[in-house]
Amino acid sequence: MKKLMTLLAVSGLAVAGEASADYALNLTEGVTELSRDIHDLHMLIFWICVGIGVLVYGILVYSLIHHRKSKGVVPAQFHENTKIEILWTVIPFLILLGMAVPATRVMIKAYDTTGADLTVKVTGYQWKWKYDYLDEGVSFFSTLSAKSNEARQLGSGIDPATVEHYLLDVDHPLVLPVGKKVRFLFTGGDVIHSWWVPDLGWKKDTIPGFITDGWATIEKPGTYRGQCTELCGRDHGFMPIVVIAKPEAEYREWLAAQKGAPIVAVADSATHQENSSDHQPEPLQTAAATGEARSPAPAEIAEPLTQEGAMTLGKEVYESHCQSCHQANGEGIQGLFPAIHGSQVVQGPVAAHLQLVLNGKPPLMASFRNILKPQEVAAVITYQRNAFGNSTGDLVQPADIAAH
């Protein structure tokens, strides 16, 4: 009877071992030397376990078949055997030693972040990623694609099967060059997240106030997907990672496009979603604009928003930065995230509303001072004050933000 169980377990393991990537039963080999080392280590331990398993379960099953009372066996009365007990303490210890050697080698390699060709800083936020190309001055946020986001709402009525790369697609993927050693620096903006792309072979936690690191030299151009792997609140399951690895020249091209890109990018993401299948990321704002939002260039302030323009941009900003807590309908979640609809703050003086968005409300709400640009703050405040049944009629301008 237990034989069945054992067979099930053992054959299941065997399937896992022989499975190819097509069936997604086993760990990926990935696209870096390190990920292959880790895969090989995984397979080594796996087969050692299978070997021990076959032996142990085999003896157990033999005993269950042949040493039954119903077969008229007279039970032996032995209850110790020093030799064999020493043997089955020493042999496993030696097997462990054999496993420890390659494990040590791979772990030391995983920690060797020296000699990197470029450095990308990854910051985890609830519930998006921010990528800073430290030597290039390029920086952007990466959030769940609009289509997935719409489909994943409770009772959305959209069949996830109709959404391409459901929950594994983002608006702005991380683009990296092939064949270059990329060093990643990780930190958290609010709570702990963890950045995991299985094809790179590892994950690393992003811890607020601390910097951790990791590295990857991607060998093959392609699109590699992953997810946040440290519980980080309500939308933990909805902050995927997409890495696009390109040949050096194409990467340079992409980088140049980012640097020369106009500042308006955020409003484009809706059109981008419509034809995202080719996965060409949209040009993004430069870090000069994002990083220094606190003292924006005069040119930015001078550009006043129209009511219509503010509402369009505001809606975009709301959807990528506010909606996951305050909800698509602006009703919030009772007891945690206040409603925008009918809110005292939103319907009260503009200054207080501004203060709240710029400074945040610890520990739940982040400060958006360094996350959003002035015209984005102005737009999203305008949007909130004139949507979800609010109708203050206010139009907030980027210039008003600079005053705070």
Partner: protein, 528 residues
């Protein structure tokens, strides 16, 4: 019998009448029953939460619950199963069995015993009530990592208070068990003659006393960080969020051995009985248990391979963790050698014990794989981990507890359970547990993170299987409830004192009549 002659005129033979019997009882058997019943209720409550989780994960897309509530379910499911179901079940078994096994009339500290039980239902009630508080129940996972846990709403202080109360309850129970074992053994019952169940509980009790204060301290630091402006875990104030993880797992890793060592004990009672052979390697079993207890204190950061420890730290914790495989292996080899050339029969308790050996070993293999830190950089926080710890906790701890209940239920109630129903319960449970948790290995390796309420399409098939398995597993436990209630209400065949053929050779408890009288071993037996 000179002792009983002196006290003849005021000898209290039976329990008090009515409800107050249970409130004021200091009898180890009554308190054992209270623990076991509470545990069974909480097992069903925590199981219902697991079914909410598995219902949502049955197919891609969000069908039933908000992600926040989903997170509360994973958090409470774990807290309730660990602190409300498995630990109280062990405490119940300890209360019932330890005095009968060592020839003692009761626990050493009977009033303390009453108190440590009665803290439990109130703590459990408070924990469940946080579901209805503003902002919902804690949703940061059972590990309660900051800064995330500090975002909890009104439930936050109540969750922490619950942990404090549960901690007090566990510590009191542990003290009582140690004092009982060290002072109340019958003449001739030397330490190295004690049944393995008693030994494993003795070591577990020391673990509990060592770790519960650490956990209480860590969560109190969370409390002061939230309400009194301290910055233990806040980098902006000079603290470190990872410090909490070190404190938590310094508690948490020995805690998982608290959940498994008594299971080792139970299985070590069952297997020799149904193999009709003495336990193989008794003293190596004791030393292996003690080694596991010791090692459990020096391996905690293997839960944190991805936080960015120095590489020396990673390697140290890798080596230390791998070492645990040695004493654990010794135990498995000993159980199999006990069966070897025995005369095995397959009554329900034995079925559960064999399933334990097979499936716990599976969990042991994946545990060994995860101990290798570079490989864990991939496994960490995926469904591979979920599969691993459910193999060791469900088909490990829970299977041992259920096996233990079938083993001793006739002794407690004086009635044999319905063997055919029990076999049905066993097969349904074992097959469904594997259907539920085995595919999760594949999910994790293929890249599905844990604690997510929705997933990408390539994970759909195995999740559907897993959910079907979970529902069959959950509803099969109603059979168990029926079997237990049937025996408790005095239906079924009468059980003999020995209950199982030859069992009186294997334990003092099977030298007592069934059901065990309200007071036993008032005159200590002579152990040879």
């Amino acid at each position: 019998m000179s002792v009983s002659a002196i006290h003849d005129d005021h000898h209290d033979h039976g329990p008090a009448k009515g409800l107050m019997r249970w409130v004021t009882t200091t009898n180890h058997k009554d308190i054992g029953t209270l623990y076991m019943v509470t545990s069974l209720i909480m097992f069903m409550v925590g199981g219902a939460m697991a079914l909410v989780i598995r219902a949502e994960l049955f197919e891609p897309g969000m069908q039933f619950v908000d992600p926040m509530f989903f997170n509360s379910m994973t958090t409470l499911h774990a807290l309730i199963m660990v602190f409300g179901a498995v630990m109280p079940a062990f405490a119940g078994l300890a209360n019932w069995m330890i005095p009968m096994m060592i020839g003692s009339p009761d626990m050493a500290l009977p009033r303390l015993n009453n108190w440590s039980f009665w803290l439990l239902p109130f703590a459990a009630l408070m924990l469940v009530s946080t579901l209805f508080m503003e902002g919902g129940a804690a949703a940061a996972g059972w590990t309660l990592y900051p800064p995330l846990v500090l975002q909890t709403g009104a439930a936050f202080p109540f969750t922490i208070f619950t942990i404090h109360i549960l901690g007090v309850s566990s510590i009191l129970a542990a003290i009582n068990i140690i004092v009982t074992i060290l002072n109340m053994r019958a003449p001739g019952m030397t330490l190295m003659k004690m049944p393995l169940f008693v030994w494993t509980w003795l070591i577990t009790a020391f673990l509990l006393i060592a770790i519960m204060p650490v956990f209480a301290g860590a969560v109190t630091m969370l409390l002061t960080d939230k309400f009194f402006g301290t910055s233990f875990f806040n980098a902006a104030g000079g603290g470190d969020p990872v410090l909490y993880q070190h404190l938590f797992w310094f508690f948490g890793h020995p805690e998982v051995y608290v959940l498994i060592l008594p299971s080792f004990g139970i299985v070590s009672q069952i297997i020799p009985t149904f193999s009709r052979k003495p336990l193989f390697g008794y003293s190596s079993m004791v030393y292996a248990t003690a080694s596991i207890g010791f090692l459990s204190f020096i391996v905690w950061a293997h839960h944190q391979y991805t936080v960015g420890m120095p590489v020396e730290g990673e390697l140290y914790f890798t080596y230390a963790t791998m070492l645990i495989a040695v004493p654990t292996g010794v135990k498995v080899f000993n159980w199999i050698s006990t069966m070897w050339r025995g005369a095995i029969t397959f009554e329900s308790p034995m079925l559960w014990a064999i399933a334990f050996v097979v499936l716990f070993t599976m969990g042991g293999f994946t545990g060994l794989m995860m101990s290798i830190s570079p490989a864990d950089l991939q496994y960490h926080d995926t469904y591979f981990i979920v599969a691993h710890f459910h193999y060791v906790l469900v088909s490990g701890a829970v299977f041992a507890i259920i096996g233990g209940v079938y083993f001793w239920l006739p002794k407690w109630t004086g009635r044999m359970y319905d063997e055919r129903l029990a076999q049905l319960h066993f097969w349904l449970t074992t097959l469904s547990v594997n259907l539920c948790f085995f595919p999760q290995h594949f999910l994790g390796l293929a890249g599905m993170p844990r604690r997510i309420p929705d997933y990408a399409l390539q994970f759909a098939e195995f999740n559907a299987w897993s959910s079907v398995g979970a529902f069959i597993f959950g509803f099969s436990q109603l059979i168990f409830c029926y079997i237990v209630i049937r025996c408790m209400s005095g239906r079924g065949e009468h059980a003999s004192g020995e209950v199982w053929e030859g069992a009186s050779e294997h334990g003092l408890e099977f030298n007592l009549p069934s059901p065990a009288p309200y007071h036993t071993w008032e005159t200590p037996p002579n152990v040879h």
